[in-house]
Structure formats: structure tokens, C-alpha cells
């Protein structure tokens, strides 16, 4: 799946491809030279509009922060100056003329890639800067600043081609006045780009920055390969649970159904890692490694039962049933429950790929657990939860005469706070990764979720001893 990083990598490649011929080949006609200058403007314009796009959520988030009162951070100041300088050069006509023609040259394709990347970012945010997706929720202002720094590097690369381009244009017969007007010694813009690219972007070497990991918001399900299909469907489930946090009114049935996938994902992954969940003895509470996955499956089972107590007042508007059915078919294909050997230690690439995908699914379930907990808490806070009093646990009823009477009458009641808190507590049990001591590395070949980078090295060490 295409990510922001993919689009920017393609853009950088096209920018280099556009600049290279200027070093070795002449432009043969004035028209050819003017076209090249137009393409040069197109890339710069795309950089400016992309810069504005990244500044938009960052500036909204900074409103009211102390740092804002003290002035914008260096990266933002440099980015604004760079974008304004570019806009002065290329004009403010919208759409930019380059957008109306097909991208047939490397620089035009670079511009197209940059605009696509800007649109990709935009689809992750609401118009007021709120995140629309869990990936966007992981992006803070530092990540956006790091994105501006990346743009500064691209701008510096593009602007370095100004002098060769001006010389080639003169060589091709373009009048000096025209060259001077279209390429008016952009040294100041180059300085701004260099300043921007020199800002510390806070990038660490071992994790992919969240901005670069941004995938498409719409998840196409690729059904040609079970491994990629598993990743796609888990990604879509994560998005569905994230959406429920914003509108949880009818989410209860969906939350309940999702717990079954939590059970299945952990059981199949445990089987892949040799835990023998069909025959093996029940692991102890301090179990580590693959057995910790069995315990996590049990935690999802407990959650399934807890959520089943409550009445589902309305049918869910958006169901995840298609994904659940597909996952229920996929998981046995990838990791049969009756496996007797540990497949995680096999060196075969196919086996490693399946392992990475399953581990990614386990990590994604922690995100799903977190979003589900938020959705359930939101439902509980609205006071719309109901259950039959006969489904109340005995210990709750014993101390409360009203509840006891309701239980005798099998009355429909609002659940006591102790019960909803217990369910929220059950969600807490599934939010952290079952295996804590993880090295970092991405695992699936789709866009990387926040949790996925932690999964590759799931070498089945040290589970949380408190669990």
C-alpha cells in the first residue's frame, strides 16, 4: 500500500531525474527550454502547496501553546518564508498551469507526487485539524515539523538546478530578460531551503516517523495473497474501531463481534509460535512467550462474555462482519490451530512473512483494544447501556436490595458503575502488547501502524509478569 514515504521517495527520484540531463545535455530549442523552466516552477509550486498543507494541522494544534506565544518554531518560520518566496516567483494562479497538463516529464511527475502526498496527508485530518484516522492521531507537531524539514531538503535539491537551467536556457536562445524574470537568482530561496533542511527533525534511526508511515485512508483489500489480505483487513478493522470512538452510539454489537477476532488472532498466532493451543495445558498467569498469547486470547474471551451481558438496542449502521468472516477463513490457512511445531523459527521466507503478518495482527489488536475501550467508555457515559438484572453478577446484587429486587423481577436496568468499570478494566487487559520486550522493526508490507514497528522481533521473550 502506498504510504507518504513512498510518494516522497518517488518524488525525490523524479527530481534527480529532471536535474541530471542539465549537466550533460543541452536544450535544443527555446521552446524546450521554456518548457523546462515551466516544469521547474511546477515542482516549486508543489513544494509550496505541500508546505502549506503540513503547516495547516500543525498551526491549528499550536494555537494556545506557550511556544506559539514565543514565536513559531524555526522550522515553521523557515517553511512559511520558503512557501511565500516560491509563491511570489511562480504566481498565485490556481490551479497552477502545470496541474492542467499530464505529467510527462520527470519534474512534472515529481510535482504530481508531491501533490498526491499533500492530498494523502489531508485525507487523514478533518478540516479543523482533528485527526480522522488512528495514524493521524499518532502525528504530533514534531512529526509535522519533521515533514517540513524533508520538504526543505527537496526544495534545496530543486533550487540547486536553477543555475544550470538558466545557462541551458540562454544556450538554447531564450532571451536574457525572460530568463532573468523566470529564474531571478533564487539564492535567497535556496538559503531558506537550506535553513529549513538543517533544522533537527528529531528523527531516530530505528523507527519510521509517523508522518512517513501514513498510508491511504481507504483500505483496499488485496485478496490475491493471504498474508497481505490479513494485514489489510486488520488495518480496516482498526480504522472501524477508531471511527467508533467518534460515533459510538450503535457500536456495542460491533465491539462484541470484534472480540472474537481478538480470540482467534491470538490463538492462531500462539499456534504458529508452537504453543499448541488445542492440546497444551492452560498457561500460568505469569506465562511468557507464546503462552502469553494464549493468556491474551483468554482475556479477549472474558471481554466477549462481559460485553454479551448488555442489550444491543439498535442494529449497527456499519458492520465489520465481512472482515470477521474473511479473517476467520484466513487465519487457519496461515496458522492451523493444530500445528505441533514452532513455525516461527523456520528460516523459509514464506514462513517468516506469515509470522511477521501474524505478529502485526497481534500488535494491531492492541490498537483495536484501545479504540474499543474508548468507544465502550463513551457508550457507558451516555447512560444508554442496559442489561437484564438477572445477568448481574451475584456479588454486585448481594449488597444492594434494589438490584436484588430487580434481579428477581428480571427487570431491564442501567448497569451499576461497578459493572461498567469492570468491563473497562477488562479492556485494559487487552490494550498493552502481550509481549512487552520487543525490538523494533516493521513487520508487514503494508503501511506501518504505530504498533507494527514493534513487532518483528517478537522472539517470545518476557511477557508481562503481572498478567
Amino acid at each position: 500500500m502506498t504510504t507518504y514515504a513512498d510518494l516522497l521517495a518517488g518524488t525525490a527520484k523524479q527530481i534527480r531525474a529532471g536535474a541530471e540531463p542539465l549537466r550533460t545535455d543541452r536544450l535544443w530549442t527555446a521552446d524546450e527550454a521554456l518548457d523546462a523552466i515551466g516544469d521547474f516552477h511546477a515542482v516549486l509550486d508543489a513544494i509550496a502547496s505541500h508546505t502549506r498543507r503540513l503547516l495547516w494541522p500543525a498551526q491549528i494544534r499550536r494555537i494556545g501553546l506557550t511556544s506559539h506565544r514565543d514565536g513559531a518554531p524555526p522550522s515553521e518560520r523557515a517553511a512559511i518564508a520558503l512557501a511565500a518566496g516560491i509563491e511570489t516567483l511562480v504566481g498565485e494562479a490556481r490551479p497552477h498551469p502545470s496541474q492542467l497538463d499530464p505529467g510527462t516529464t520527470p519534474w512534472r511527475q515529481a510535482a504530481m507526487g508531491l501533490r498526491a502526498a499533500a492530498d494523502l496527508v489531508a485525507t487523514h485530518f478533518h478540516f479543523d485539524g482533528r485527526p480522522r484516522t488512528p495514524d493521524a492521531a499518532a502525528i504530533n507537531t514534531c512529526a509535522l515539523d519533521a515533514g517540513l524539514v524533508q520538504l526543505g531538503r527537496l526544495a534545496a535539491t530543486v533550487l540547486a538546478a536553477e543555475d544550470p537551467l538558466a545557462l541551458r536556457a540562454l544556450q538554447a536562445g531564450v532571451r536574457k530578460a525572460v530568463v532573468g524574470k523566470q529564474l531571478p537568482a533564487l539564492g535567497r530561496l535556496a538559503d531558506l531551503a537550506r535553513d529549513l533542511s538543517a533544522v533537527d527533525d528529531g528523527r531516530s534511526s530505528d523507527t519510521m516517523p509517523p508522518l512517513e508511515a501514513l498510508p491511504q485512508t481507504w483500505t483496499p483489500i488485496r485478496t490475491d495473497d493471504p498474508v497481505t489480505e490479513l494485514g489489510d483487513r486488520m488495518h480496516r478493522l482498526r480504522q472501524a474501531t477508531f471511527d467508533m470512538t467518534a460515533d459510538p452510539a450503535d457500536a456495542l454489537a460491533t465491539l462484541r463481534d470484534i472480540t472474537t477476532i481478538g480470540i482467534a488472532v491470538h490463538a492462531h498466532t500462539a499456534a504458529f509460535h508452537g504453543a499448541q493451543p488445542i492440546a497444551g495445558p492452560e498457561p500460568t498467569l505469569c506465562a511468557r512467550g507464546a503462552e502469553a498469547l494464549v493468556l491474551r486470547g483468554r482475556a479477549w474471551q472474558a471481554l466477549h462474555r462481559e460485553l454479551s451481558r448488555f442489550l444491543t438496542l439498535t442494529p449497527p449502521r456499519a458492520t465489520v462482519r465481512d472482515d470477521l468472516i474473511a479473517l476467520a477463513c484466513l487465519l487457519p490457512t496461515l496458522a492451523p490451530l493444530d500445528a505441533r511445531a514452532n513455525s516461527a523459527t523456520l528460516a523459509a521466507q514464506a514462513s517468516r512473512r506469515v509470522g511477521a503478518s501474524l505478529n502485526g495482527a497481534v500488535a494491531t489488536m492492541t490498537d483495536i483494544g484501545e479504540h474499543s475501550a474508548a468507544a465502550f467508555a463513551a457508550i457507558a457515559s451516555t447512560g444508554t447501556l442496559r442489561l437484564n438484572a438477572r445477568d448481574l453478577p451475584r456479588d454486585l446484587v448481594a449488597d444492594d436490595p434494589n438490584l436484588a429486587e430487580a434481579k428477581l423481577r428480571s427487570a431491564l436496568i442501567a448497569p451499576p458503575a461497578a459493572l461498567t468499570n469492570a468491563v473497562i478494566g477488562a479492556f485494559d487487559d487487552v490494550c498493552a502488547h502481550p509481549i512487552r520486550a520487543l525490538a523494533s522493526m516493521a513487520t508487514t508490507d503494508r503501511g506501518h501502524s504505530q504498533a507494527e514497528p514493534q513487532v518483528e522481533a517478537m522472539k517470545l521473550v518476557l511477557a508481562d509478569p503481572d498478567r
Partner: protein
């Protein structure tokens, strides 16, 4: 096993009415029993039973959306945990019998219900019961 699940289940199957209440009672018992059975057996064995519990519960939801008072008035038989893992096969069979009984009654009711929305609800209930039976008996896995 036969002392904890068989007797009450057989009683419910023979005494449940042919109407909405009877279907709900049978479906509820199957769903509740599946939840408890899934937690009583090894996790890997419980996966398909949890899927079945999901389907039975979805069927129960469909019934309650069609007749919102069922949850309050219909008989709710709660099948508890299965203590002996060796009884798993028999427990699966009992859940299957409960679901089959609910399915028969739903099919019969759909024949005489005149309201189109009720017929549609019963169709969805039957669909869930069929898939739930397939999962609980292991035919689907």
C-alpha cells in the same frame, strides 16, 4: 456432563413455545452455553465455539430488535461452565440441538408471520443459527 447441561437443555427443547419467546429462549441458551463452553476448553478448541457464540448472539439481537420485550419476558436458561473437557463433544451436540430447535421454530413461524419485516427478521435469525450450528459442530472450521 449429562447432569449439568443435558437435562435442562432437553427440557427447554421440549417445552419451548413455537413463537418468538421460544425461539429467543433456545437461542439465548445456545449463546450463553457457547460462551461458557469456549472458556472451559483449551483456547484453540474454543475459537470455533466463540464464533458460534457470536452468531447465536447476533440471532438473539435480531429477535430482540423485532420484539424488544423478549429479553424481559422470555425464559432464560443459563448453561454454566463445563468442568470436564472430555464432555466437550457432548456439550457441542447439545448446543447444536438447541440451535436446531430454534431453527425449526423460526422456520415454522416464518410460514405464518404475515408482516414482511418480521419475516425478514426471522430470515436473518435463521441465517445466523445455521452458521452458528456449522461452527459449533466443527463442520465449518
Amino acid at each position: 456432563m449429562s447432569t449439568t447441561w443435558t437435562q435442562p437443555a432437553q427440557t427447554l427443547i421440549s417445552e419451548a413455545t413455537a413463537g418468538w419467546e421460544g425461539i429467543w429462549s433456545l437461542t439465548y441458551a445456545a449463546g450463553f452455553g457457547a460462551l461458557n463452553l469456549a472458556m472451559s476448553v483449551p483456547l484453540g478448541v474454543g475459537v470455533s465455539i466463540s464464533y458460534a457464540a457470536m452468531d447465536f448472539r447476533d440471532a438473539q439481537d435480531e429477535l430482540e430488535w423485532a420484539r424488544p420485550n423478549l429479553r424481559a419476558i422470555a425464559t432464560a436458561l443459563r448453561l454454566g461452565h463445563v468442568r470436564d473437557v472430555d464432555d466437550t463433544a457432548e456439550a457441542r451436540a447439545i448446543l447444536d440441538q438447541l440451535a436446531a430447535a430454534a431453527l425449526d421454530r423460526a422456520a415454522g413461524l416464518a410460514e405464518i408471520e404475515l408482516d414482511l419485516s418480521d419475516q425478514a427478521a426471522l430470515s436473518r435469525v435463521m441465517s445466523r443459527l445455521i452458521t452458528g450450528r456449522a461452527k459449533v459442530t466443527g463442520r465449518w472450521a
